[in-house]
Symmetry: C2
Subunit: 236 residues, 2 copies
Amino acid sequence: MTYDLWYWDGIPGRGEFVRLALEAGGIPYRECARQPGADEGTLVADLSSARKHPPFAPPYLVAGKMTLAQTANILLFLGEKHGLAPESLEGRLWVNQLQLTIADMVAEAHDTHHPISASEYYEDQKVEAKRRARSFREERMPKFLGYFERVLDGPQAWLAGGKRWTYVDLSLFHLVDGLLYAFPKRMATLAIRYPNVMALHARVAALAELQPYFESGRRLPFGEGIFRQYRELDAA
Amino acid sequence: MTYDLWYWDGIPGRGEFVRLALEAGGIPYRECARQPGADEGTLVADLSSARKHPPFAPPYLVAGKMTLAQTANILLFLGEKHGLAPESLEGRLWVNQLQLTIADMVAEAHDTHHPISASEYYEDQKVEAKRRARSFREERMPKFLGYFERVLDGPQAWLAGGKRWTYVDLSLFHLVDGLLYAFPKRMATLAIRYPNVMALHARVAALAELQPYFESGRRLPFGEGIFRQYRELDAA
């Protein structure tokens, strides 16, 4: 079965966490909003079409008769179905727990540039963004990254233990990638403190399973999505 | 097996979503941070104790040798194990998806009074809170509540369909309860638009399974947690 993945075109966004799992797992999927002739209206129309289980927002995955939304929920499904997560219940719940913690940090990273409203311009909440970004850089980044550092047992470890990556390793890679883009100065300071996290980032970047995707040009660059490069929001 | 639930004492917080499932399911648990002699230090010490799968933050549930954190993840486990969710994979993923959407709204409700930093005083982010709360009231509340209204098929429906409540109905009840507390004026306006949501709130409040809990005095009132009553953040 080929899955249908729906997500806004033009940004990696939350869709990228799903994409990385599909790509690394060698799972066939269609990127619906990037098909020839598709535009933003195509996604908006599909999102509001009648479904048994309507999504609140993209990304969502259509798997036969089933529609699944919420990034962590889609990954929970893919992880179990395609062997991208541990087999035990305990292992699967642990990976889900870590994924939800990543989702929390992703939401906070987004709010550094939109602390007041996602529907207002950045320029209209720049002052507030500066304050929120400072608290994110100084308190939240060390707290989250320090947590993942402790979970990782060493520079050769995967988050769930075991000998093979699981989907949450791909997600942590993408989160760190986004932080390196949005907060290059801060990450230069922090990277030294979190060698296991940085080693995991490098190992996922080098995964043989992901090279065809990275080389395809399909992996969209960061820009106007969750992770943005506003110099005034970064500091060492 | 009696579960150990760890959450900050004194506020309902995110622990309440877990508590409602345990209580409505008739599942034995210990409220660890409220045992005689326990205080905040007891939880802090337990949180930082060595564990195979450390939580990032409370709530967390100790189930024998397993420690589970992240509210939606704990509920996923309890739902499957204790029949508080549909039996089918599709049904369980749907309930999880809805739970994650509730979690998103809960995080946004919190940020109305702490849009800059959770570790700074409300008084020091009051101006920003007013702007964020306005956007939450005017855009986000209708968007989220309108979504749940559409998911509910009528005033007698449960979120997952079927004849019996699942854990996500309890969570929507608590979310609406919190909104009624924090935004009474806004909810008075919106309640008329979302009769299915309000009917579900009333039906959960009347569930026979929950009456012993409600009458026990153990259900903590809202106050200094996620849902707060700041009059300046509310408006019709």
